[in-house]
Symmetry: C2
Subunit: 255 residues, 2 copies
């Protein structure tokens, strides 16, 4: 072991003591991130310098930096350096996926979370939505109508519309959580769309329901908006079940 600077010893003893080296460095940077002392875009010192400054070896420092990178907090680029990254909901989504992995019925469950977020979001949106938000929603409604016959585009337009509602709520917490659960929803969303886009009952409901929700939002009526949104989810669910049933039936008759 090389010479140990006295200052290093003092700093260490005042720090958390029970934590391992890597964990100590990890929390060190995490706290800098939380306190805003490190902002997105900042560049960290070189690994060799950091290791020296923090009084740990390079492998230990790397374990900490790698952990931060895996959490999406750092962007480490070969030959360039380590950069602080803007907070990203994708990590949240991954964490949620990991947490929910062992549970059964996740899909239906996550759908419940989606309904929860959206219903609260639209209430807030009724209070807070700006003219621009409403115009954006109107545009998405149009996109949704013209892309009814394309499962891919239609699904995206549908998602964009609902996402815009959450955005119009002006609540970043709702937004982040919604983004976090979105990837889990996506998988089934497009599939369902592909199964149902030829059913007139479903496509007509789709347009009517979204339009009704939008109108309530324009009228800034939270109760109406929420109940129409709930209606939309409920009917959509029923139609999908019905469609699933008939498709199974036709499969059975083909045997």
């Amino acid at each position: 072991m090389q010479d140990l600077a006295v200052s290093d010893i003092i700093v260490r003893s005042n720090d958390e003591e029970a934590l391992g080296g890597a964990a100590r460095v990890f929390t060190f940077f995490r706290d800098k991130l939380l306190s805003g002392e490190l902002k997105a875009g900042d560049r960290l010192l070189a690994e060799r310098e950091l290791a020296l400054a923090l009084g740990v070896s390079r492998p230990v420092l790397r374990e900490a930096l790698r952990s931060l990178a895996m959490l999406g907090l750092l962007d480490i680029r070969h030959g360039r350096g380590a950069f602080v990254r803007a907070a990203d909901a994708s990590v949240l989504g991954q964490a949620l996926t990991l947490c929910l992995a062992p549970e059964p019925n996740i899909l239906d469950d996550v759908l419940q979370a989606r309904i929860a977020i959206e219903c609260q979001a639209i209430r807030l949106a009724c209070e807070r939505a700006s003219e621009r938000d409403l115009q954006a929603l109107a545009g998405m409604l149009d996109t949704l109508v013209v892309s009814l016959d394309d499962p891919e585009k239609g699904g995206q337009a549908d998602y964009a519309f609902h996402l815009a509602i959450v955005r119009a709520s002006g609540s970043s917490a709702l937004m982040k959580i919604y983004e976090a659960i979105s990837p889990l929803l996506m998988r089934s969303h497009v599939e369902r769309r592909r199964d149902t886009f030829r059913e007139p009952a479903i496509t007509s409901h789709l347009v009517d329901a979204h339009r009704a929700v939008f109108l309530s939002l324009v009228q800034r009526d939270p109760d109406a908006a929420e109940s129409r949104l709930r209606e939309h989810f409920k009917i959509g669910d029923e139609l999908r079940r019905k469609n699933l049933f008939t498709s199974y039936q036709s499969q059975a008759s083909n045997l």
Copy 2:
């Protein structure tokens, strides 16, 4: 609790290519976790053996394992080994905190998320709550009443009651998200309680509101339950603001 066989590992040579070594090992284990091939309590091979089996050096392997440990997926214990850990919502909470750190008004924002989750949860609970769930809630209601004059216990009882509602929804996704945001709420919750527990208007509202919510739940009336819950949040918020106002007023008169 069983060791991971080396044969389980060898297969992966044509895997993802662009990823760095540590990232590759990381996703390797993450996928094993997601697929259920690795369950909570399983013990990993020793680092030296794993490194050999995966074809990477020990430092690289350690970067990956440390990352998994930081995510709460692994429990690495000095002198004993690395064990797979049960999914934990605390990581979700940390990730959320990190994501929301740069945002202003997080507290109010997270409260909106809380309302969202609970309102949906109580609707589901009206459908799904078991007799046991209801009895548990009844018990918590009693605890809440008898601990009105203790900010600490009262706050805990309050939280326990609301958590029990979410649990009664039977949705693990709602539950996880609720647990994730709870720590962010806790901070303000106890403080508020300390400021307001001597106000008769507030404490009486507290009991009435919780009881009303509970009764609607017993009657399995989703609309009533949700609206009473919203009422509870709304009035609680107003009372706190009012109390905050008068306390500022009295401070001013003391100057």
